[in-house]
Amino acid sequence: MKVFMLGWEFPPYISGGLGTACHGLTKALSDLGVKITFVLPKPIETKTPTHVQMLTPQHCRALRTVTQSAETTQELKNVQFHTVSSPLQPYTTPQQYQKRLEEIIRQKQLLSAQSQQMLDQWLEQEIEGISVGPGQYSGDMYTEVHRYAAAAVRLALQQDFDVIHAHDWMTYPAGIAVAAVSGKPLVVHVHSTEFDRSGEHVNQMIYDIERRGVHAAAKVIAVSYLTRNILMTRYGALGDKIEVIYNGVEPEDSNRISAQQVGIRSDEKIVLFLGRITMQKGPEYFLMAARKVLEEMENVKFVMAGSGDMMHRIIEMAAQMGIGHKVLFTGFLRGEDVNRVYQMADLYVMPSVSEPFGIAPLEALNHDVPVIISKQSGVAEVLTHVLKVDFWDIQEMANKIIAVLKYPPLQMTLREHGNFEVRKLKWSGAAKKCLKVYQEVTQVAV
């Protein structure tokens, strides 16, 4: 089975769960002997080197196979990476996109000659693209999506594959185009929908792209029944076309470091929020619950790890509530820092308003941290040994936070069973189901 996979992001350069999911899934598929060509937009302005972007393309329009570092190659032996230079990133808004574009122009002088040349060409093309684009409010992002699609098509013509697998809306036009050109079946993987990200204030353009992708696909993979329902009710997709495949997590051996090592007083409990600070993740409910908790107990700190468009509002809100000294903001964490913050935490809370899946709670459980998740999350469908609350039920959320901090046997039982449970949710299971979907669509196609 050869798969032409279209993605947004890939570790270690990630901003959310999508990259983690793509990494886990491709690795497990690779273990099953599935050959994958992975196409992904190359985030060119970042300063953090990754195995994907370390290699500068000679020409911005040229697509080339990226040689993987030894360690990654071993892990993903059947995966081949291709990058398309682009400032596009998941979870972005047209405004942020504009800002990023400006930043690139500002940084232009600092870049090496080679990159500069590349950027010049890229920008040239970008401006071209905008001028020929539909000229709507988010024309630039729209253009970018289509530029990625065009590049993917060109790449697809040189490749041999059986099935196309597209992850989330930005790659759907590319997936549709490649399917049209190659005649191969398209599988669309929905990790989140516009309704999850924006509530009722959907971006019509993105919604249209998502709808088109879901309808064009031979089969749709949803990360939960929650997402499947949204696809059926909001996108008019047929239920029998949608397969639910839950995300997984790879067990890791974390040795918990004691609180003293990181300079936190041992009598202070730490409640962790880890995720983008955006409307979707419900950070304000976390704060409101925190205030209620602090009415009952003193020795507790609330750590909010992540960044996002609501960050400033949330910082202000904490101050207004008079609990600013109890809430710590760490900004966006990656790599070792994520491990460290999990190891410090006594409890992880995910108060998401709408969460298609939510890999972070699995990671928390992997780190032996008890978990409270909102009932409005896909992961609530698979986890039993966690506490569940409605995101809006601040009183109950506070009640449960206090219980975990106050009753050690509760923490112990949650930890014991939760860690055991999470070990059963491996990517290999998801990959097997994914392979079955591939087989189904290719059989129909033949």
Partner: protein, 404 residues
């Protein structure tokens, strides 16, 4: 020749209402939920089953007999929410073919944690049986048939009972079977009646299971199984939850018809009859000594305590609630004592069981909680409030004492 001995367990706990750490009221119990469950089960099970048994007893003119153990807490709920159930039990008691057994009034695990409380609850239950139906129970059954040698010794020391009922678990019987009267090792006169779990569970659990090779089970077939015991036992002890009839096994499974016709087929064999536990104890000799050094129960496949004491939350909650006994009794406040005792009911700890939680199994029966964790949190919040109430009352008492 075997005697068929039926004993039905009747119990409903006082379920707690949703109680957060922010709640400050002394109302712990969910009146609405308890009332509606009690009425629902009464209509599906208690009332139709009682009427059926009454009809059967009249039809067989004293040859059909059964026994019951009703917890104090279920009787309180009947009196409050559906008194008509009590009157059908009154009618059953008047037939003289129904025996009532003794147990801990609050369906508690007090034997494991406080002998003092254990004795008090047994006495309270005996008094209730005397008051309601004029019977002084001579047979004791401990909560969930929890039993070991020590329980037998403790019960014998009360000098009020002829026998104890427990599970006929394979590991205590070895090569023997449950169909005889036995004796605990260190008891002089106390006898032991063991549940025939295979035949009991055929009715209680497997009756409507279409995957079971013996399905459908009818009265002639079951009577044949009873006949086959002939010579290999004196008594067949069929012990089960009364909710089997109409609630666990719905009416449309044919459970009521099965029951109605059963005596007819069993009594066809001249050597067969029906007996109450006391009659069994009087009629048959002790065959052997059964040694039970470790605690057994009738719960789940394990037949041990793991349904109530299987995880850290359960042992913590139990430990905490029994630790409060002294404090509660010091207050001499009847309302506090009653609330505390209602918290001792074993169901509260059963809800905290994580054993089968992932598979969503039997523990779901009228479980008011979404998860064992929610149940623990709720219980501990209530317990903390009760403790504060005790302390408040005690400080007030010292203040008034000093004043006078």
């Amino acid at each position: 020749m075997p005697s068929v001995c039926f004993y039905f367990q009747v119990h409903q706990p006082f379920r707690l209402r949703h109680y957060t750490v922010f709640d400050k009221s002394g109302n712990y119990f969910d009146e609405f939920k308890n009332a509606s469950i009690c009425r629902k089960v009464a209509n599906k099970c208690y009332l139709p089953s009682n009427r059926l048994l009454l009809k059967m007893i009249r039809r067989y003119e004293g040859r059909f007999k059964v026994s019951f153990s009703l917890t104090g807490v279920v009787i309180e709920q009947f009196q409050k929410y559906c008194p008509e159930v009590i009157s059908t039990f009154d009618a059953l008691a008047e037939t003289g073919c129904v025996e009532f057994l003794a147990e801990t009034y609050y369906h508690s695990l007090s034997f494991l944690y406080s002998r003092n409380e254990f004795f008090e609850q047994i006495q309270k239950h005996i008094e209730l049986m005397q008051k309601l139906w004029g019977q002084t129970p001579r047979i004791f059954r401990n909560t969930e048939l929890i039993y070991n040698n020590q329980l037998a010794e403790t019960i014998e020391s009360l000098n009020q009972f002829d026998a104890v009922i427990t599970e006929g678990a394979d590991r205590i019987l070895g090569h023997r079977n449950a169909n005889f009267v036995y004796r605990p090792p260190n008891c002089r006169h106390l006898k032991l009646l063991l549940k025939n779990y295979s035949l009991s569970d055929d009715i209680a659990f497997r009756f409507s299971n279409r995957g079971w090779e013996e399905w459908p089970l009818d009265a002639p077939k079951f009577a044949r199984w009873i006949d086959q015991i002939n010579g290999c036992g004196h008594t067949v002890n069929l012990f089960m939850d009364y909710e089997t009839f109409g609630e666990h096994q719905w009416e449309d499974t044919g459970i009521f018809d099965f029951m109605y016709h059963l005596p007819e087929y069993i009594l066809r064999h001249p050597d067969n009859n029906f007996m109450t536990p006391s009659e069994v104890v009087r009629s048959y000799p002790v065959m052997d000594v059964v040694d039970v050094p470790h605690v057994i129960s009738w719960a789940d496949m394990e037949r041990d305590l793991s349904a109530w004491l299987g995880n850290a939350m359960q042992s913590n909650a139990l430990h905490e609630v029994y630790k409060m006994e002294k404090l509660v009794k010091q207050t001499q406040d009847p309302l506090i004592l009653e609330d505390w005792r209602k918290l001792l009911t074993s169901d509260h700890f059963y809800y905290m069981c994580t054993k089968y939680f992932s598979d969503g199994d039997v523990h779901k029966y009228f479980n008011p909680y979404e998860s064992p964790y929610d149940s623990y949190i709720n219980y501990m919040n209530v317990l903390n409030h009760l403790r504060e109430r005790c302390k408040q009352v005690l400080t007030q008492q010292t203040v008034t004492e000093q004043a006078s």
